[in-house]
């Protein structure tokens, strides 16, 4: 005999009258009785007392945290070339990102810790690069630029541009209106497209245009995400995790 239809199983689950032969089949058929049990459970759960005091939305800051975390693992536009310098093998950072991905811990803190390690490594690179800052003096002018947007609403609130000067490259950062640094200060970072490494390029004073010397090698290695963070005077050199604006320079 064929199985009863879903409709008949619903009737059976609800105690509505069902053909006797049909219900006899269900009693002996594992598949059908499992379906009836699922339906009964659904009714139990739907009809049970639900003492909840309405829906409670999370704080707005939570979405900003989601957006920041996703931004940090934007896939790189191009493969970062593997070079034999300290920053290309930040074991600590790689490990921490992996831990963060399993979702069992609070990722923002883990990543900040990762950045602290990466920052030390990356600082070495900057030092190395400065040592061989011999540039073919190309003509001056803007190399690339990007709008800086808020992480949550993606609203444009500033702009960053890379400008070629006689000596090398400058990163210019300007905001449409002064950012609120609260009790702390604003710091400008270049985050690597791999989301694992970053370097601090300097402090931005609210309402002013910041000009920071950078190097082509930094850009070539994938440090292309411009980030403005709010930092506290807390003796911690790592990124606070509190990003205000961000934008990725075009390749």
């Amino acid at each position: 005999m064929s199985h009863p239809t879903d409709d008949e199983l619903v009737d059976l689950a609800l105690g509505e009258p069902v053909d006797a032969e049909r219900s006899a089949h269900v009693a002996t058929c594992g598949q059908c009785s499992a379906t009836v049990e699922q339906l009964r459970r659904t009714v139990r759960l739907a009809s049970g007392p639900v003492s909840y005091a309405g829906w409670q939305a999370p704080d707005d800051a939570v979405w900003a945290r989601v957006a920041a975390e996703i931004d940090a693992d934007d896939p790189p536009v191009a493969e970062v070339p593997e070079t034999a310098n300290a920053a290309s093998s930040p074991d600590v950072a790689a490990h921490d990102i992996r831990v963060a991905r399993d979702g069992a811990r609070r990722p923002s803190r883990r990543r900040t810790a990762a950045w602290a390690g990466a920052l030390v490594a990356a600082s070495l690179v900057v030092g190395l690069l400065a040592g061989r800052a011999i540039w073919s003096p190309n003509e001056s002018g803007s190399v690339s630029q990007v709008a800086l947007k808020t992480l949550d609403t993606r609203q444009r609130e500033g702009e960053a541009s890379v400008v070629r000067t006689g000596d090398g490259l400058d990163l210019n950062v300007v905001t449409d209106r002064p950012l609120d640094a609260g009790d702390g200060y604003l710091e400008v970072w270049l985050i690597n497209a791999d989301g694992k490494r970053m370097v601090s390029v300097g402090v931005l004073r609210p309402g002013e245009t910041g000009t920071f010397p950078i190097s082509q090698a930094l850009i070539d290695q994938g440090y292309v995400v411009v980030d403005i963070s709010k930092e506290q005077f807390d003796d911690k050199p790592a990124h606070s995790g509190d990003s205000l604006l961000r934008g990725k320079l075009p390749a």
């Binding site: 659904t42 829906w55 939305a57 999370p58 989601v66 996703i70």
Partner: protein
Amino acid sequence: MSPTWLGGSVHVHDDPDVESAELAVRLSGGDREALAEMYRRWSPLVHTIALRALGAREDAEDVVQQVFVAAWRGRATLRPDQGSPAAWLVGITKHRIADVRTQRYRTHRNLQAVASEVVTEQAPTHEADWAERLLLVHELERMGDPRATVLRMAFLEDRTQEEIARTLEMPLGTVKSHVRRGLLELRDRLKEVERVASD
């Protein structure tokens, strides 16, 4: 991978199921705005479940953060044919809540001084069903009328189908059909939660 409507005009639907399915397709295609829309719609559901399960607001908000980040990273596991992504999100939520509980247990185990709290924190027997219950509340709220009213009368007020038909001045066959479709739909949501939560 890149559906034509991604960059095209915005479709407006009255049917929440169609909208939800479209959101699911957009998310699995990597559309970030779809994630933002899902957050707007379902973060209160996820948050309320987490809050109910964990008590502490900070933990609940951490769970919300983790769920939507996991939704983005795991968008390939979303099955648009399952209708509402809400059930999928609730499945992920159950995972994250279990993680937080495991962590709490470890913390407590390491702090012998709070041994008594472990006892008081033990979940009641039906605690595990809270995610499902709240999802069903949400689904009933979202479902259009008259089906929602019919189901509410059938399940919450425990009225017979004849009574419902009389009260709503609706043919008995129509009431029956709403109950059947509605119950099967809700059952499918629970199956989706189970599929994701047991991964």
